[in-house]
């Protein structure tokens, strides 16, 4: 399977992806085979339905949000590069990633990019702020029916209060970073991709 997948993927394409995302060659081919198996339309791109067909994703409270994160703005298709670019956020940070000179843009799996990914899950209207309503929506998804609206509301208020520094009752990305600065995001937003 892997060899068939890699044969469909051109070497130079792999190289480019490697450069962009930091995945290894074998990881790319492995993920490409996954990509093609998800791609029921066999047109080299994935649509939302392809993702929604994954059974576990359907029961994931944030499933839809995460699926959305794979799609660039106002697009319904994602190609393999886009797919890899999103997944690259979850690559663990390795030593080689750290020793970059400041001129080179941060790798996709940097702490900031990981945080940004999470931030965008909340920020539906893309105004770079998490409003109370947006927070409440995510909360509603994540906690069960056991928690009443009132309680959710107070949690949301409290959360915003905690993070809000400039008093605009929203959470900006800077505030988001600040409030999570003690969290080991590098670890908690990484998964181990098989080699």
């Amino acid at each position: 399977m892997g060899s068939r997948a890699s044969s469909l993927l051109r070497e130079e394409e792999i190289e480019e992806i490697k450069k962009e995302t930091g995945f290894s060659h074998s990881q790319i081919t492995r993920l490409y085979s996954r990509f093609t198996s998800l791609d029921k339309g066999e047109n080299g791109t994935l649509c939302r339905e392809d993702f929604q067909r994954i059974p576990e994703l359907a029961i994931n409270p944030l499933g839809d949000r995460i699926i959305n994160a794979f799609f660039p703005e106002s697009e319904d298709q994602v190609n393999f590069r886009g797919f890899m670019r999103t997944l690259a956020h979850f690559r663990p940070i390795e030593d080689s990633d750290k020793s970059k000179d400041p001129l080179v843009p941060e790798p996709l799996n940097s702490r900031n990019n990981k945080l940004l990914f999470a931030f965008r899950l909340y920020d539906l209207d893309k105004d770079d702020k998490i409003s109370r309503e947006e927070l409440l929506q995510v909360l509603r998804m994540m906690v069960g029916v056991n928690i009443s609206e009132e309680q959710l509301g107070s949690i949301a208020d409290r959360t915003i209060q905690e993070a809000d520094q400039n008093g605009d009752l929203t959470i900006s990305f800077t505030e988001f970073q600040k409030v999570l600065e003690k969290v080991d995001v590098e670890q908690k937003m990484s998964i181990r991709f098989l080699h």
Partner: protein, 970 residues
């Protein structure tokens, strides 16, 4: 316990005796003196004679006491006939000595902590060992015979379980399972590696002739020794590491290893021990297979025993709601039974207890009451702490016993070298393998700390003492070596690990408190990672964790948690509550002067009602410390947190005061409250007031308690309705929706509808009734004098008081200024309820109330109140400008408080009126509510009580009660 010749109790007894004798001599009470002569003199003689004829005393002592007793009996009959006082040392000897030992150890702890410098440098375990050495020396010198050694049976049956339970129960389970692979590897492979390499290497040294030839041991003996010496000891590790504060991952790996390796150690020990018993030449191949198999049987079996008992415990705790008082007992009993069961069938008891504690915690904590939680926590910590203390002290004392020792420098040195070296090699090798799989690799520094943290302890000692001298001829050598290794690791490594950690700049654990954001976002991260793993199609850790959580939520929690607990179980909500409690504490610490605006006290009511404190408890208890238990603050780090204890006391001392001060600070809780939260706040205030009640006698207090009373009534009704609703299978949220805006307690309903409440409903309610009634009677008189004040409530009914003079109200309001917002808030809330009830009342033309109540003009109702309220607000905010503003900011009624312009006023009114208007229009919903008044409400006694109240207290009967009457009339 062995016979008594310990200096300390002896000295105590001596002192006591001397004092008694002196006293008796002066009094000349012949009977008593004689008695003492007969009974007491022999031990006295003996004690004083220790120096001169120790040998003789040592041997003759029990007999002597015995004969003395006999004599006493005989002579007592002959001379005195009846003995008032009898010397019965033998009778109490065992427990007495144990108690004295514990006391000595605890006193020693006090001494150690007198100087904070010493304890920051020297770990407590070291100090205790030194103390033990000292005491052992004294005992040895006094009795010329070592006493009070660490007895393996005592150790395994009594001293070890509390420590293991403590570590298992307070183990951060998420962290533990996150690192489970690594822990398991170090525990199993690491221990096997250490045992075999150390054993064989020592054997090789022996063959090389570097050891005293008197050490008679073959390969099997050395392997046996290797197995017992190589295991990292949980007691020692906890004792040292909890003071070092390395980062969580490192801690959990070392600590988890020390707990889990028990199975391997015990199995290896048993296998080699029986092999040594059989003799190496008689061992067959099958025995080896059995040996290997037993590792799995013992470890998995122990784990299974633990899990089964955890399940039983969780299930039992689900049904303890009526016997709250013995909840902690269940926890300890069942865990102990797990330990004994595992021990009985020779499975790993440490694993059983660890997993029992680990698995049951979530469910037990959810089921048992807040107080039981605290009790469990502190009892566990106390037991573990004293066990630990005793273990280390006894270790010290045991070391003095040179009769069991045979020192061989070669053996000791090589053992030290090998245990350390092979642990280092093992750690490096395993880390190298693990780093291929770990997300966050274990770096060099981690590995150094892990190597260095491999402390040996009492388990090894107990095991080596258990060796059979007949089969293991080198036992004495092994004992000496084990003691040396333990002392070396605990003392030398324990002393140096702190500087080492500092020097290596090991990532320390930052002890920051969890924030809601962290909890929330980390939860989101978990979901994200699970989703990404699904997308990638790689079923990794997150996948399985997700699956497990799903399973747990769907089946296990439902089965093991009581319904009320299950419904409110949510991590985010938990953290939210914890944060609020924390705020309350910091609030208390600051003496009620909150500087930060982050005080969302609003949730307190839901928290109090959430905590499985039964309503009965809430009512019976005046101490609020119960509700604001500190436990929640503490992160799950195991160990006897001194900080924690300190905080607990701070809390206990401080919580009482703010409770009184709160009148002035109610407004603090208004911050950050949305429209939806009013009800919650209302409940909170009611709770607070109900506690205030007993302390108050001033006008203000009457007022507030009056209100409380009224709320209580209403709450009662609500509860009734609620109980009915749930009984009748009416969905709770539907009910809530229907009543939410014209009833102040829906949140409480939601939170409060614990099944237990339902069960105890009648009882509790009766109690409530009593309270309410008594109280009302008291309140009534004063209230009549408080015209202006009650005008607040009155004006809807009697137009002449409209508008109530704000200035006069202000004059009369004792809380004007500092405490202004309490009544303000209360009135705003109550008025919101009042009209509906009133309207209803009017419609029903309740005869008893007719003269008092006039139908409210919907607009007129609010106008004056609002203005009044606003005036109060203004004065109060003028008096205390800083904290008030943010606090009121989000309170809907007060949104415009600082602005006097008409628009805002109208806006406020609109806000206030909105629900009301719709209420009036929405008659079906009112009807719906009323139909839900449960049958029990018609209880004649209740009704009559209400009626009598109504007639006697005139218009002071407040609307909720009226509504009660109305309902009963329906």
């Amino acid at each position: 316990m062995p016979s008594a010749r310990l200096c300390l109790p002896a000295a105590t007894a001596l002192l006591l005796l001397c004092a008694l004798r002196a006293l008796l001599a002066s009094n000349g009470t012949s009977v008593l003196t004689e008695l003492l002569e007969e009974a007491g003199i022999s031990p006295l003689h003996q004690l004083t004679g220790i120096g001169s004829h120790p040998e003789l005393q040592a041997t003759s002592h029990p007999a002597e006491i015995q004969s003395a007793e006999d004599e006493t009996g005989a002579q007592g009959h002959g001379i005195a006939g009846f003995e008032m006082v009898k010397w019965q040392w033998v009778h109490v000897q065992g427990p007495y000595l144990i108690a004295v030992w514990i006391l000595v150890a605890s006193l020693a702890k006090i001494l150690f902590h007198l100087s904070s410098k010493v304890t920051t440098v020297v770990p407590e375990s070291c100090l205790l060992i030194f103390l033990g050495l000292g005491l052992g020396g004294i005992v040895l010198a006094a009795a010329k015979k070592p006493e009070y050694q660490l007895d393996p049976d005592t150790f395994f049956l009594f001293l070890l379980p509390p420590i293991v339970l403590d570590s298992g129960y307070f183990m951060p389970s998420r962290l533990f399972f996150d690192n489970f692979g690594a822990i398991l590897m170090y525990a199993v492979i690491g221990t096997l590696w250490n045992s075999f390499t150390t054993g064989t290497a020592l054997w090789a040294v022996k063959l090389a002739g570097l050891m005293d030839p008197k050490v008679e041991a073959d390969l099997l003996d050395f392997l046996l020794f290797g197995s017992l010496i190589s295991a990292v000891d949980p007691v020692a590790v906890i004792a040292v590491f909890e003071e070092v504060h390395v980062n969580e991952t490192l801690f959990i790996i070392v600590f988890g290893e020390s707990l889990l390796n028990d199975a391997v150690t015990v199995v290896l020990y048993k296998v080699f021990n029986s092999f040594a018993g059989i003799g190496s030449e008689n061992i067959q191949a099958l025995d080896y297979v059995k040996g290997v198999g037993s590792i799995f049987v013992v470890s998995l079996g122990g784990t299974a025993v633990g899990i089964v008992f955890a399940f039983v415990l969780a299930l039992i705790s689900r049904f303890t709601k009526r016997v709250r008082i013995i909840e902690p007992l269940f926890v300890f009993l069942i865990v102990y039974l797990a330990h004994l069961t595992a021990e009985m069938v020779s499975l790993s008891s440490i694993l059983a207890v660890t997993f029992c504690g680990l698995c049951c915690k979530k469910y037990v904590e959810a089921n048992i009451s807040q107080k039981s939680r605290t009790t469990v926590k502190y009892t566990m910590k106390t037991l573990a702490s004293s066990s630990e203390t005793i273990i280390f002290m006894l270790l010290g004392i045991s070391a003095v016993d040179t009769s069991k020792w045979t020192w061989d420098t070669g053996l000791v040195l090589f053992t030290l070298l090998f245990t350390f070296a092979f642990r280092a090699i093992g750690v490096i090798l395993q880390s190298w393998i693990l780093n291929h799989f770990r997300l966050v690799p274990l770096d060099r520094i981690d590995q150094v700390v892990m190597t260095y943290g491999g402390l040996r302890g009492a388990v090894a000692f107990a095991l080596v003492i258990l060796l059979n001298e007949q089969t293991i001829k080198a036992k004495d050598y092994f004992v000496a070596t084990t003691i040396t290794v333990i002392f070396f690791t605990v003392i030398i490594q324990g002393l140096t690990i702190k500087p080492l950690v500092k020097w290596l700049k090991v990532k320390r654990s930052d002890h920051h408190k969890p924030t809601l954001n962290e909890e929330l976002h980390e939860r989101a991260f978990d979901h994200i990672l699970a989703a990404v793993e699904d997308i990638v199609g790689h079923h990794g850790y997150h996948y399985w964790r997700d699956k497990w959580e799903h399973f747990d939520k769907k089946y296990l929690s439902q089965l093991l948690m009581r319904k009320s607990a299950y419904r409110i179980k949510d991590d985010i909500w938990d953290v939210y509550q914890k944060l609020n409690v924390r705020d309350a504490i910091s609030f208390a610490d600051q003496g009620g002067h909150m500087s930060s605006g982050k005080f969302t006290f609003a949730s307190m009511p839901s928290r109090t009602s959430f905590s499985e404190t039964s309503v009965t408890n809430l009512l019976r208890e005046s101490g609020s410390a119960v509700c604001l238990d500190l436990q929640v603050i503490d992160t799950v780090r195991s160990g006897r947190d001194r900080e924690d204890t300190v905080m607990h006391h701070v809390l206990r001392e401080n919580l009482y005061k703010p409770r009184r001060r709160y009148q002035g600070n109610y407004s603090r809780h208004f911050i950050a409250q949305g429209e939806q939260e009013r009800q919650e706040r209302e409940v909170f205030q009611r709770n607070m007031r109900s506690r205030l009640e007993s302390f108050k006698s001033t006008k203000h207090n009457v007022y507030s308690s009056k209100i409380k009373c009224r709320h209580k009534k209403e709450h009662k009704c609500q509860k009734r309705r609620n109980a009915e609703g749930t009984n009748g299978q009416v969905p709770n949220d539907k009910l809530q929706r229907n009543v939410s805006w014209h009833d102040t307690v829906p949140v409480f309903v939601e939170a409060d509808s614990e099944d237990e409440e339902k069960d105890t409903a009648t009882k509790v309610k009766e109690q409530e009734d009593d309270e309410g009634i008594t109280f009302m009677a008291r309140a009534a008189n004063e209230n009549l004098q408080e015209r202006k004040f009650s005008g607040n409530f009155e004006y809807p009914q009697s137009p002449r008081i409209i508008p109530p003079s704000p200035t006069s109200a202000e004059k009369e309001l004792p809380w004007k200024g500092d405490q202004g917002d309490l009544p303000a808030c209360v009135s705003s809330e109550t008025n919101k309820i009042v009209p509906i009830d009133l309207q209803y009342a009017w419609k029903q033309s309740t005869s008893s109330l007719e003269s008092l109540v006039s139908p409210p003009g919907s607009d007129a109702v609010f106008q004056p109140r609002t203005s009044n309220f606003m005036l109060e607000e203004r004065t109060s905010s003028a008096a205390l400008p800083v904290p008030r503003h943010p606090i009121h900011f989000q309170f809907p009624c007060t949104a415009g408080e600082k602005s006097t312009d008409e628009d805002t006023m109208e806006l406020i009114e609109q806000q206030e009126l909105q629900p009301l208007m719709s209420a009036e229009g929405d008659s079906p919903s009112v009807g719906l509510v009323s139909t839900r008044w449960p049958a029990p409400f018609h209880r004649p006694s209740y009704v009559s009580a209400l009626r009598s109240l109504v007639t006697s207290t005139q218009y002071n009967i407040k609307q909720p009660e009226k509504s009660g009457n109305i309902q009963t009339n329906l």
